[in-house]
Symmetry: C2
Subunit: 502 residues, 2 copies
């Protein structure tokens, strides 16, 4: 990997003085175009060995371009906020929006590599982390982010020289602590770990770019020109005639039977039965959130369902049973401007609850494979890849002891009609019904097909769908409450077991 | 995953009788178009539980379409031919060419799943196999193969019923052996293993398609229609205006220094020195191939280099030292018609040597990132992904105790000119020089850049590049012989150690 980077590259002062102003102007122009058109985001990962100029290049890029349009993020020890979320959360929340450049100084690669070399991370877990990274980067590229990954390299000899040099100079000696020398002692171990890591995480869309780190002028020009070329290539790209994305069709519906139609939507329950049951479940839910182990988990509940299926009512029955400090609700409507400038999962990642909190999503990331699919807001390839992306997302939550509980509230077409009409009649309900609801209703079958595919492709052992027969609101609310209580109870038991093992 | 597939789907006889002839005709038409245009190959994987109709659907497809244009491959225990090659070899050699349909009855998924459930395959190794499969399928899709993966499903109850049914009937009872019942006993274990497997290996381009296996007419129509829709979609696809593939530029060359130019191409060695050294090395190489452990490894040597760098001469010095039964040479020129109808790595996979054999490649798979890149025979995205594909390919060889030894023979531009002129003068050398050699020479710098990227991106711990300074043929040939001997010696030692561990 580093055959070229270990050569004695250098750029003379005079060449640098001639080239730098041109590069600088061109970078500024490109940055302007990027910001103005805001078609895509740029994410620059800065990685590599100590003393190879990582910090310097970050400063350099900020000097060359407009620093107000650059977000620099250095990742050290996770904050308490970060430690309570899955590993990738801190990176998600730092992603640059379209039109801007984000620089990650250290990134998702740092911790797995350090843990593997120094912390005894097992080979299997390291491999899993690599797959996570591969999927994250693939997803970003698929979402249109320009991902540039620079790996700053020094040979062992070069690094020793560099560290000594830094130690001698009073202005820089603070940068070389015992830790840096410890890392240096493990130089060969790092090589053994980084080589396959770099190979595995180099894809056609986001290859690692090795940078020779010995000569400051060389590495600055090299990174600057690569960034410039990458920006210009993307800014100036023109659509060409190409074959469309290829996604094979899923199994066609041959009969009238599917997972939704197989449900008996009318379930018996009287108001009195409901009240009695609800009292009990409500107390149980409240008690569960007071359990000491509840502080070791979080809960994410997702409410999806037909229009007018009673999502709001079911959610209110849940929140009524909780201390207001123990939950937060997230109502998903059309994305905000800020959210539209990010990959589609971003606005959900940012809402992942901390420990001991129940996050309640009224609609969710499943919009991608429901409304966006049916209405053609994204391409077939986009929603097809979303099943895998969503499964990975939920698995990451699960791994981090975040319980994922997903409800699909199903009502019949006739019941929906009744409720729509009812809403139109009653003044204080009218706000709930719009022309869009009626338009969606016309696409009932398309939505139903999308729901069936969604259940088939995203009901997993760690985040199963619960289909709720919701023609009778009482029955639906009780099923929701009971399912939620059972899931939290299981999670508390599991986390207990895990703690014991440790 | 199987929510829909477990429903009680069925199709009545009358509906089937009405629909089948139409489907059959449409499939035949599509198959004809496929064969006539021969733009892409179709690969159908048939997987799932016993008794769910896997065998029946294969017969059905053969009956519906022209069976001469369908290759059916059932994979059981590997043959001795297959056992001596890496796991994926048997699948590579069975790939259908463009214009044809290949059916894999059992495929790369079968063994890892069986081994995980019954054979104690470790979780980490299972994960590795999953990544191999992901990469294999991605590569096939990137190469334009239409991959359709059907998973035939039965619920536990359905399967028990089905196996009993088959056992009772004299015509089918042979299909249910103790092994099938053993698999059934592990139904839940299979579910636990298959669920994440299916999820992980479902991509947007090649998702698993669950097929309800209980009703024969239903599953036949469902698979037939899905195949038809997929064929028609691809056959009828029209180019649309789209943005081009996105691959960021690699680091630009800022100075005159690169891994090739850093070589001292003129190395001293006289003819007498050569003779003496060669005698010794030749005897050593011969002796190594007689070592008993040599039967446990294979060798793949790759010769790449500038035109007229002396690849042929170096290869002859190697082969002269070997028993003719111990090696086979593969000279890579333009691909044959058969080879052009396959993914680019196919023609190299088919040449992977058996145990105890030295396979000598005069040019190789590196054509993809050299000539095909420079001449624009493939797109930037294609050669960028090739680095990863090639690394994976060589790592699979390495894992299977196949030593990979790669030489780049480098001569200077002046030396090449001398040799070209020399070849033109001497009658018996004239066949070696063509107009193409002179044309390639004009692109010297572009080729040099491609070579440097190749070395950076494909020199790995398990398959490093050896750069050979080749202005002096004697020196070059000795360096080749010595490197080869050292590599084989190391491999014999390693395989000894491995055997001891077992």
């Amino acid at each position: 990997m580093f055959e070229s980077a270990e050569l004695k590259h250098d750029i003379s002062k005079s060449v640098y003085r001639r080239e730098e102003p041109k590069l600088r102007q061109a970078l500024l122009d490109a940055q302007n175009d990027l910001q103005r058109r805001a078609h895509f985001a740029v994410l620059i990962l800065i990685a590599g060995v100590e003393g190879a100029g990582k910090g310097e290049i970050v400063n350099q890029l900020n000097e060359w371009m407009d620093p107000r349009q650059i977000q620099v993020n250095a990742f050290h020890q996770p904050s308490d906020e970060e430690a309570e979320r899955p590993d990738m959360w801190r990176f998600w929340r730092a992603l640059p929006p379209r039109g801007r450049i984000g620089i990650f100084f250290g990134g998702w690669h740092t911790q797995p590599i350090l843990d593997r070399v120094l912390g005894g991370l097992k080979s299997a877990d390291f491999t899993r982390r690599i797959s996570e990274i591969q999927r994250m980067e693939k997803m970003l590229c698929d979402e249109g982010v320009l991902v540039l990954k620079f790996w700053f390299h020094l040979s062992k000899k070069q690094q020793r020289k560099r560290l000594k040099q830094l130690s001698k100079d009073l202005k820089t000696s603070w940068r070389v602590t015992k830790f840096e020398w410890k890392l240096f002692d493990h130089y060969d171990d790092f090589t053994r770990v980084c080589d396959p890591f770099i190979r595995r995480t180099s894809s056609a869309e986001a290859p690692w770019i090795p940078v020779p780190g010995a000569d400051e002028r060389y590495r600055s020009l090299a990174v600057g020109r690569t960034l410039l070329a990458a920006l210009r290539e993307r800014l100036d790209e023109q659509p060409v005639k190409r074959l469309p994305d290829r996604t094979p069709p899923l199994l066609p519906a041959l009969d009238q039977l599917n997972v939704i139609r197989a449900l008996e939507l009318d379930q018996p329950m009287t108001k009195d039965e409901f009240r009695e049951e609800y009292e009990k479940l409500s107390a149980r839910l409240f008690a569960l959130t007071l359990h000491p182990r509840f502080q070791d988990i979080s809960v994410v509940t997702v409410f999806e369902g037909n229009d007018a299926a009673g999502k709001g009512g079911a959610i209110r029955r849940v929140t009524r049973s909780l201390d207001a400090r123990r939950y937060h609700t997230v109502s998903i409507a059309a994305p905000t401007e800020e959210e539209r400038a990010q990959p589609y999962l971003w606005r959900f990642w940012r809402q992942i609850p901390r420990r001991g909190i129940v996050g309640i999503f009224d609609r969710s990331w499943y919009g991608r494979v429901l409304v966006e699919r049916v209405e053609g807001f994204c391409s077939e390839a986009d929603w097809m890849r979303a099943y895998g992306e969503i499964n990975e997302f939920e698995q990451e939550l699960d791994r981090h002891d975040i319980v994922v509980v997903k409800f699909w509230l199903a009502i019949s077409k006739e019941e929906q009609y009744r409720r729509f009409k009812d809403r139109e009649k009653v003044a204080y309900k009218r706000f709930k019904i719009t022309g869009e609801d009626w338009r969606n209703r016309k696409k009932w079958d398309a939505y139903e097909g999308a729901v069936c595919d969604m259940v088939d492709r995203t009901s997993t052992s760690f985040a199963p769908w619960t289909l709720v027969e919701a023609n009778n609101k009482y029955y639906a609310r009780i099923k929701v409450m009971k399912t939620l209580c059972d899931a939290i109870e299981r999670a508390i038991k599991n986390v207990k077991k895990k703690k014991k093992k440790k």
